[in-house]
Amino acid sequence: MKIIKNILSQLHVYAVWLILSVVLWGFVFNFLTDAPAEKKLVLFAEVSGVRDKAFCAEMEKSKPAGIRMIQAHSFDYVMFDEQSLINADVYIVPRESVEAYRDSFRALDLSKLKAEKLSFYENDGLPCGIRVWDGETGFASGYFTYGEGEYYLFLGANSLHAGQVDDAAYWMIGEILQMKNE
Protein backbone atom coordinates (compact mmCIF):
# COMPACT_ATOMS: atom_id res chain seq x y z
CA MET A 1 0.00 0.00 0.00
CA LYS A 2 2.79 2.38 0.97
CA ILE A 3 4.65 1.55 -2.24
CA ILE A 4 1.58 2.28 -4.37
CA LYS A 5 1.01 5.54 -2.49
CA ASN A 6 4.63 6.54 -3.05
CA ILE A 7 4.46 5.68 -6.74
CA LEU A 8 1.25 7.65 -7.23
CA SER A 9 2.79 10.67 -5.52
CA GLN A 10 5.59 10.66 -8.11
CA LEU A 11 3.61 9.55 -11.15
CA HIS A 12 4.74 12.51 -13.24
CA VAL A 13 8.41 11.57 -12.71
CA TYR A 14 7.77 8.01 -13.96
CA ALA A 15 5.82 9.36 -16.93
CA VAL A 16 8.68 11.70 -17.88
CA TRP A 17 11.16 8.81 -17.56
CA LEU A 18 8.99 6.66 -19.84
CA ILE A 19 8.82 9.35 -22.53
CA LEU A 20 12.55 10.13 -22.29
CA SER A 21 13.44 6.42 -22.50
CA VAL A 22 11.33 5.86 -25.61
CA VAL A 23 12.83 8.88 -27.39
CA LEU A 24 16.39 8.20 -26.22
CA TRP A 25 16.38 4.51 -27.14
CA GLY A 26 14.86 5.31 -30.53
CA PHE A 27 18.09 7.13 -31.37
CA VAL A 28 20.55 5.02 -29.36
CA PHE A 29 19.21 1.74 -30.72
CA ASN A 30 19.46 2.93 -34.31
CA PHE A 31 22.95 4.29 -33.65
CA LEU A 32 24.19 1.06 -32.04
CA THR A 33 22.59 -1.34 -34.50
CA ASP A 34 23.30 0.57 -37.68
CA ALA A 35 25.70 -1.01 -40.14
CA PRO A 36 28.08 0.83 -42.50
CA ALA A 37 26.74 1.51 -46.00
CA GLU A 38 28.86 -1.22 -47.58
CA LYS A 39 27.25 -3.82 -45.31
CA LYS A 40 23.71 -2.53 -45.52
CA LEU A 41 20.99 -2.66 -48.15
CA VAL A 42 18.41 0.11 -47.94
CA LEU A 43 15.13 0.33 -49.78
CA PHE A 44 12.89 3.39 -49.79
CA ALA A 45 9.33 3.16 -51.04
CA GLU A 46 7.00 6.07 -51.67
CA VAL A 47 3.92 4.07 -50.80
CA SER A 48 1.23 4.52 -48.18
CA GLY A 49 2.47 1.61 -46.06
CA VAL A 50 5.54 -0.61 -45.72
CA ARG A 51 5.56 -3.81 -43.69
CA ASP A 52 9.23 -3.18 -43.09
CA LYS A 53 9.88 -5.81 -40.42
CA ALA A 54 8.22 -8.60 -42.40
CA PHE A 55 9.94 -7.54 -45.62
CA CYS A 56 13.36 -7.40 -43.95
CA ALA A 57 12.79 -10.75 -42.24
CA GLU A 58 11.94 -12.33 -45.60
CA MET A 59 15.01 -10.78 -47.23
CA GLU A 60 17.26 -11.87 -44.36
CA LYS A 61 16.54 -15.51 -45.13
CA SER A 62 18.73 -15.50 -48.20
CA LYS A 63 20.80 -12.33 -47.92
CA PRO A 64 24.17 -12.35 -49.67
CA ALA A 65 27.38 -12.80 -47.71
CA GLY A 66 28.77 -9.43 -46.69
CA ILE A 67 25.37 -7.87 -46.06
CA ARG A 68 24.71 -7.45 -42.37
CA MET A 69 21.53 -5.44 -42.41
CA ILE A 70 18.54 -4.85 -44.64
CA GLN A 71 16.32 -1.84 -44.11
CA ALA A 72 13.05 -0.85 -45.74
CA HIS A 73 11.48 2.53 -45.13
CA SER A 74 8.63 4.59 -46.45
CA PHE A 75 9.59 8.07 -47.66
CA ASP A 76 8.24 9.48 -44.38
CA TYR A 77 11.42 8.18 -42.74
CA VAL A 78 13.31 11.03 -44.40
CA MET A 79 12.28 13.23 -41.46
CA PHE A 80 14.71 11.19 -39.31
CA ASP A 81 17.50 10.52 -41.76
CA GLU A 82 17.76 12.39 -45.05
CA GLN A 83 21.19 10.95 -45.84
CA SER A 84 19.80 7.46 -45.77
CA LEU A 85 17.30 8.40 -48.48
CA ILE A 86 19.98 9.96 -50.68
CA ASN A 87 22.23 6.90 -50.39
CA ALA A 88 19.51 4.26 -50.66
CA ASP A 89 20.15 1.25 -52.89
CA VAL A 90 16.67 0.63 -54.22
CA TYR A 91 13.64 2.90 -54.61
CA ILE A 92 10.01 2.20 -55.32
CA VAL A 93 8.20 5.33 -56.51
CA PRO A 94 4.91 6.06 -58.27
CA ARG A 95 5.05 6.95 -61.94
CA GLU A 96 4.11 10.59 -61.32
CA SER A 97 7.07 11.13 -58.94
CA VAL A 98 9.73 9.62 -61.19
CA GLU A 99 10.68 12.91 -62.87
CA ALA A 100 11.20 14.61 -59.50
CA TYR A 101 13.76 11.98 -58.41
CA ARG A 102 15.22 11.31 -61.83
CA ASP A 103 18.80 12.22 -60.82
CA SER A 104 18.69 9.80 -57.89
CA PHE A 105 18.42 6.76 -60.17
CA ARG A 106 20.93 4.91 -62.29
CA ALA A 107 20.48 2.78 -65.40
CA LEU A 108 19.92 -0.92 -64.88
CA ASP A 109 22.37 -3.55 -66.05
CA LEU A 110 19.91 -6.08 -67.39
CA SER A 111 22.58 -8.77 -67.63
CA LYS A 112 22.48 -8.93 -63.83
CA LEU A 113 18.75 -9.48 -63.77
CA LYS A 114 16.56 -12.31 -64.93
CA ALA A 115 14.47 -9.87 -66.90
CA GLU A 116 11.56 -11.75 -68.31
CA LYS A 117 8.28 -10.14 -69.25
CA LEU A 118 9.08 -6.95 -67.41
CA SER A 119 8.02 -3.43 -68.28
CA PHE A 120 10.70 -0.78 -68.00
CA TYR A 121 10.85 2.93 -67.46
CA GLU A 122 13.44 4.30 -69.85
CA ASN A 123 15.62 7.32 -69.37
CA ASP A 124 17.64 8.58 -72.37
CA GLY A 125 16.90 5.27 -74.06
CA LEU A 126 18.30 3.19 -71.21
CA PRO A 127 16.18 0.95 -69.01
CA CYS A 128 16.16 2.65 -65.66
CA GLY A 129 13.13 1.44 -63.72
CA ILE A 130 11.09 -1.75 -63.57
CA ARG A 131 7.32 -1.56 -63.22
CA VAL A 132 6.37 -3.37 -60.01
CA TRP A 133 2.72 -2.33 -59.83
CA ASP A 134 0.40 -1.61 -62.69
CA GLY A 135 -2.49 -0.37 -60.63
CA GLU A 136 -3.97 -3.79 -59.97
CA THR A 137 -1.26 -6.39 -59.83
CA GLY A 138 2.46 -6.43 -59.31
CA PHE A 139 5.25 -7.52 -57.06
CA ALA A 140 5.63 -7.68 -53.27
CA SER A 141 2.19 -6.20 -52.69
CA GLY A 142 2.10 -8.12 -49.41
CA TYR A 143 4.81 -5.82 -48.09
CA PHE A 144 4.07 -2.53 -49.85
CA THR A 145 0.69 -0.83 -49.90
CA TYR A 146 0.59 0.60 -53.40
CA GLY A 147 -1.82 3.35 -54.31
CA GLU A 148 -3.60 3.82 -57.58
CA GLY A 149 -1.49 4.02 -60.71
CA GLU A 150 1.83 2.53 -61.67
CA TYR A 151 4.87 2.09 -59.43
CA TYR A 152 8.45 1.60 -60.57
CA LEU A 153 11.49 0.16 -58.91
CA PHE A 154 14.82 1.94 -59.40
CA LEU A 155 18.44 1.43 -58.54
CA GLY A 156 19.94 4.24 -56.42
CA ALA A 157 22.55 6.44 -58.10
CA ASN A 158 24.66 6.42 -54.92
CA SER A 159 24.27 2.72 -54.19
CA LEU A 160 27.48 0.90 -53.32
CA HIS A 161 25.80 -2.40 -54.11
CA ALA A 162 25.34 -2.02 -57.83
CA GLY A 163 28.83 -3.09 -58.83
CA GLN A 164 31.02 -0.91 -56.63
CA VAL A 165 31.23 -3.22 -53.58
CA ASP A 166 29.01 -6.06 -54.72
CA ASP A 167 25.79 -6.65 -56.65
CA ALA A 168 23.54 -7.00 -53.63
CA ALA A 169 21.14 -4.32 -54.90
CA TYR A 170 20.49 -6.48 -57.99
CA TRP A 171 19.97 -9.43 -55.66
CA MET A 172 17.34 -7.43 -53.76
CA ILE A 173 15.60 -6.43 -56.99
CA GLY A 174 15.64 -10.08 -58.07
CA GLU A 175 14.07 -11.14 -54.76
CA ILE A 176 11.32 -8.52 -55.10
CA LEU A 177 10.61 -9.64 -58.64
CA GLN A 178 10.07 -13.15 -57.34
CA MET A 179 7.31 -11.93 -55.01
CA LYS A 180 4.77 -11.86 -57.77
CA ASN A 181 1.17 -11.09 -56.77
CA GLU A 182 1.67 -11.72 -53.07
Binding site: Q10, W17, S21, L24, G26, F29, L32, T33, E60
Partner: protein, 166 residues
Protein backbone atom coordinates in the same frame (compact mmCIF):
# COMPACT_ATOMS: atom_id res chain seq x y z
CA UNK B 1 23.63 9.57 38.28
CA UNK B 2 21.72 10.17 35.10
CA UNK B 3 22.91 8.97 31.74
CA UNK B 4 21.33 9.74 28.41
CA UNK B 5 20.13 6.81 26.31
CA UNK B 6 20.30 8.14 22.76
CA UNK B 7 17.44 7.32 20.42
CA UNK B 8 20.05 6.64 17.75
CA UNK B 9 22.71 4.35 19.11
CA UNK B 10 26.00 3.92 17.21
CA UNK B 11 24.58 0.58 15.96
CA UNK B 12 21.50 2.36 14.63
CA UNK B 13 23.72 4.85 12.81
CA UNK B 14 25.88 2.14 11.27
CA UNK B 15 22.73 0.24 10.28
CA UNK B 16 21.52 3.37 8.46
CA UNK B 17 24.94 3.73 6.80
CA UNK B 18 24.74 0.13 5.62
CA UNK B 19 21.25 0.70 4.29
CA UNK B 20 22.42 3.76 2.35
CA UNK B 21 25.37 1.87 0.88
CA UNK B 22 23.28 -1.19 0.03
CA UNK B 23 20.61 0.91 -1.71
CA UNK B 24 23.27 2.77 -3.69
CA UNK B 25 24.85 -0.55 -4.69
CA UNK B 26 21.48 -1.98 -5.77
CA UNK B 27 20.80 1.14 -7.89
CA UNK B 28 24.24 0.94 -9.56
CA UNK B 29 23.96 -2.82 -10.20
CA UNK B 30 20.47 -2.47 -11.62
CA UNK B 31 21.51 0.37 -13.93
CA UNK B 32 24.60 -1.55 -15.06
CA UNK B 33 22.61 -4.74 -15.63
CA UNK B 34 20.00 -2.87 -17.66
CA UNK B 35 22.71 -1.23 -19.75
CA UNK B 36 24.49 -4.54 -20.37
CA UNK B 37 21.19 -6.23 -21.30
CA UNK B 38 20.29 -3.43 -23.73
CA UNK B 39 23.73 -3.38 -25.37
CA UNK B 40 23.62 -7.19 -25.69
CA UNK B 41 20.23 -6.94 -27.37
CA UNK B 42 21.65 -4.31 -29.76
CA UNK B 43 24.57 -6.60 -30.63
CA UNK B 44 22.19 -9.52 -31.28
CA UNK B 45 19.89 -7.41 -33.45
CA UNK B 46 19.23 -8.39 -37.03
CA UNK B 47 16.81 -6.88 -39.55
CA UNK B 48 14.28 -9.53 -38.62
CA UNK B 49 14.22 -8.96 -34.86
CA UNK B 50 15.03 -5.24 -34.79
CA UNK B 51 11.55 -4.13 -33.77
CA UNK B 52 11.23 -6.70 -31.01
CA UNK B 53 14.69 -5.96 -29.64
CA UNK B 54 14.11 -2.22 -29.66
CA UNK B 55 10.90 -2.73 -27.71
CA UNK B 56 12.72 -5.02 -25.26
CA UNK B 57 15.47 -2.41 -24.79
CA UNK B 58 12.94 0.32 -24.05
CA UNK B 59 11.02 -1.96 -21.65
CA UNK B 60 14.16 -3.01 -19.75
CA UNK B 61 15.41 0.57 -19.55
CA UNK B 62 12.07 1.97 -18.42
CA UNK B 63 11.51 -0.69 -15.74
CA UNK B 64 15.04 -0.49 -14.39
CA UNK B 65 14.77 3.30 -14.37
CA UNK B 66 11.50 3.20 -12.46
CA UNK B 67 12.96 0.91 -9.80
CA UNK B 68 16.09 3.07 -9.47
CA UNK B 69 13.99 6.24 -9.30
CA UNK B 70 11.85 4.68 -6.59
CA UNK B 71 14.83 3.51 -4.55
CA UNK B 72 16.59 6.86 -4.86
CA UNK B 73 13.52 8.95 -4.21
CA UNK B 74 12.15 7.00 -1.26
CA UNK B 75 14.41 4.32 0.26
CA UNK B 76 17.73 6.12 -0.18
CA UNK B 77 16.48 9.62 0.57
CA UNK B 78 14.66 8.56 3.72
CA UNK B 79 17.68 6.66 5.01
CA UNK B 80 19.97 9.59 4.21
CA UNK B 81 17.66 12.10 5.85
CA UNK B 82 17.32 9.91 8.92
CA UNK B 83 21.11 9.59 9.12
CA UNK B 84 21.48 13.36 8.89
CA UNK B 85 18.82 13.76 11.54
CA UNK B 86 20.70 11.33 13.81
CA UNK B 87 23.88 13.30 13.21
CA UNK B 88 22.13 16.54 14.08
CA UNK B 89 20.80 15.00 17.32
CA UNK B 90 24.26 13.78 18.28
CA UNK B 91 26.09 17.01 17.63
CA UNK B 92 23.44 19.61 18.55
CA UNK B 93 23.20 21.50 21.85
CA UNK B 94 20.89 19.59 24.10
CA UNK B 95 18.41 20.97 26.59
CA UNK B 96 16.60 18.79 29.11
CA UNK B 97 12.88 18.61 29.69
CA UNK B 98 11.48 16.51 32.50
CA UNK B 99 7.86 15.52 32.83
CA UNK B 100 5.17 13.07 31.96
CA UNK B 101 5.77 11.99 28.38
CA UNK B 102 2.93 11.04 26.05
CA UNK B 103 3.71 9.80 22.55
CA UNK B 104 0.66 10.94 20.56
CA UNK B 105 -0.71 9.42 17.38
CA UNK B 106 -0.26 12.68 15.51
CA UNK B 107 2.27 12.45 12.77
CA UNK B 108 3.85 14.95 10.44
CA UNK B 109 6.08 14.57 7.46
CA UNK B 110 8.68 17.09 6.47
CA UNK B 111 8.07 17.58 2.76
CA UNK B 112 9.89 14.86 0.78
CA UNK B 113 11.56 13.60 3.93
CA UNK B 114 11.12 11.46 7.04
CA UNK B 115 8.07 11.33 9.31
CA UNK B 116 7.87 12.51 12.88
CA UNK B 117 5.50 11.71 15.71
CA UNK B 118 4.43 14.45 18.11
CA UNK B 119 5.31 13.98 21.76
CA UNK B 120 3.81 16.02 24.58
CA UNK B 121 5.64 16.57 27.88
CA UNK B 122 3.60 17.74 30.85
CA UNK B 123 5.22 19.24 33.94
CA UNK B 124 4.67 22.08 36.41
CA UNK B 125 5.58 24.65 33.77
CA UNK B 126 2.89 23.43 31.38
CA UNK B 127 2.80 21.23 28.32
CA UNK B 128 5.52 21.21 25.74
CA UNK B 129 5.19 19.61 22.33
CA UNK B 130 8.21 17.92 20.86
CA UNK B 131 8.90 15.67 17.88
CA UNK B 132 10.46 12.24 17.61
CA UNK B 133 11.36 10.44 14.42
CA UNK B 134 8.57 7.90 13.80
CA UNK B 135 11.06 5.06 13.45
CA UNK B 136 12.24 5.77 17.06
CA UNK B 137 8.75 6.12 18.47
CA UNK B 138 8.62 2.57 19.90
CA UNK B 139 11.88 3.01 21.73
CA UNK B 140 10.58 6.14 23.45
CA UNK B 141 7.25 4.50 24.32
CA UNK B 142 9.06 1.59 25.93
CA UNK B 143 11.17 3.90 28.09
CA UNK B 144 8.34 4.72 30.49
CA UNK B 145 6.09 7.64 31.32
CA UNK B 146 8.03 10.05 33.44
CA UNK B 147 11.31 10.84 31.80
CA UNK B 148 13.92 13.43 31.29
CA UNK B 149 14.15 14.08 27.60
CA UNK B 150 17.20 15.47 25.85
CA UNK B 151 16.03 17.81 23.14
CA UNK B 152 17.78 19.39 20.17
CA UNK B 153 15.83 22.09 18.29
CA UNK B 154 12.53 20.56 19.38
CA UNK B 155 13.48 17.00 18.39
CA UNK B 156 13.95 14.30 21.01
CA UNK B 157 17.55 13.10 20.98
CA UNK B 158 17.38 10.74 23.94
CA UNK B 159 16.01 10.08 27.38
CA UNK B 160 17.59 9.53 30.71
CA UNK B 161 18.44 6.16 32.11
CA UNK B 162 18.98 6.07 35.85
CA UNK B 163 22.16 4.37 36.91
CA UNK B 164 22.72 3.77 40.61
CA UNK B 165 25.82 5.55 41.85
CA UNK B 166 28.01 3.57 44.15
Amino acid sequence: MNKMTPLYSPEDCSRLDRKIQATRAVCCCLAAAALIACVTLCVLTSSANAGRNELACVAIWVLAGWVVLYLRRFTLKEARDERQHAEMLHSGDKETVRGRVTVTKERMRIVNSIRFTLVSVENEQGTRRLRVCSSREKKLRAAGETLTLYVVNGYVAGYDCKVKSE
